[in-house]
Symmetry: C2
Subunit: 204 residues, 2 copies
């Protein structure tokens, strides 16, 4: 059976995702989206009515992807260090596939912080559970006493930053070499996990 042709709506969404993620809402052009989807500009409006509505569709999906599935990791019954390794590995792997995601989400949310209020309810990340879990480990004397919120921010920041800051890091530290930087990102899965674990381990 022949492969089914993609329908137009999907073509537009794919094109729009690329353009919006690379240029942001303000930098994106409906014309460029239409060109990339190999259709006419009017057709984009036919399917999504306005630039804003099209953007909302893309942002929604991108945002869900961006929010790390902390809960998935925490519901497992493996030890904390194993959970950290799994989280870092999964999250960095996803970002390697979607390198523009961090800046896109971060920039758009900085432009429109009010939108954050709406988003919070719409997804089920409950960091309280993770916080409690960390506190439990501290009380059991398994890890160094730290502010759990700081630890969570550290974990996420360490994963995201090399993608959000790629041009500057690659430029300054890696002499703009793509291959070396990609290798650096691969290595990071292990390095960041080690880094975090060492930072909360108790010295004997």
């Amino acid at each position: 059976m022949a492969k089914r042709e993609k329908n137009t709506e999907k073509l537009i969404l794919e094109a729009a995702t690329k353009v919006f993620l690379e240029k942001g809402f303000d930098g994106a052009r409906m014309q460029e989206i239409a060109d990339k989807a190999a259709i006419n500009k009017a057709l984009v409006h036919y399917y999504f009515r306005s630039k804003e509505k099209l953007f909302d569709a893309i942002f929604q999906e991108a945002f869900v992807q961006f929010i790390p599935k902390v809960m998935d990791v925490m519901t497992s019954d493996s030890p904390l260090f194993e959970k950290i390794k799994a989280f870092v590995n999964t999250y960095i792997s996803m970002l390697i596939k979607n390198p523009h995601l961090p800046i896109f989400i971060l920039h758009e949310l900085n432009r429109h912080p009010e939108q954050m209020v709406n988003r919070i309810q719409s997804f089920g990340a409950k960091p309280e559970l993770l916080v409690k879990n960390i506190i439990k480990e501290i009380k059991k004397g398994k890890i160094r006493p730290v502010d759990p919120r700081q630890l969570i921010v550290n974990m996420i920041g360490l994963c995201i930053f090399p993608f959000a800051g790629r041009p500057i890091i690659q430029g300054v530290i890696f002499k703009n070499d793509d291959k070396t930087y990609n290798r650096f990102l691969e290595d990071r899965k292990k390095d960041v996990a080690d880094f975090i674990i060492h930072s909360i381990s108790i010295k004997k």
Copy 2:
């Protein structure tokens, strides 16, 4: 003696800095800059000719501020851990005063990575020195063997992320409370330094 009036050029630069840093190049409007400077739109063009030229002036200064003065810290002859503490403390303090700086720089460089090539030469950050310094500490057995480049990226990322990701972090973890988040940022000066130092300390 009466306080001297600010000249127009300075007024424009101050207004433009605010607008560009909050909205980025694509989102900024010459009209808004003029309004904020309490002058006419034509006058902005009179002083800077074009939006792009005005932007360049702002970006240049912002970029210099953004690049952490790693060298300043490293030229001191204090021990590595003291250097790390000083760096984290200085950099986070600066970011508290300029919270929009990270997203602004990161976003604009992602939009125009080619510009990074020009910038690199224009400022004197030589991370090689820092890399060598870290390697020396490792060889002396003072710290755990790590990839110095990863360590540097970690240090910077840990400082920057809570500012770049403020809306999302504050929304999800801090129930959107400004005061708590500001306190969190203050605490971070110490917490991040501790975090890094523990992560590279050698266990006895």
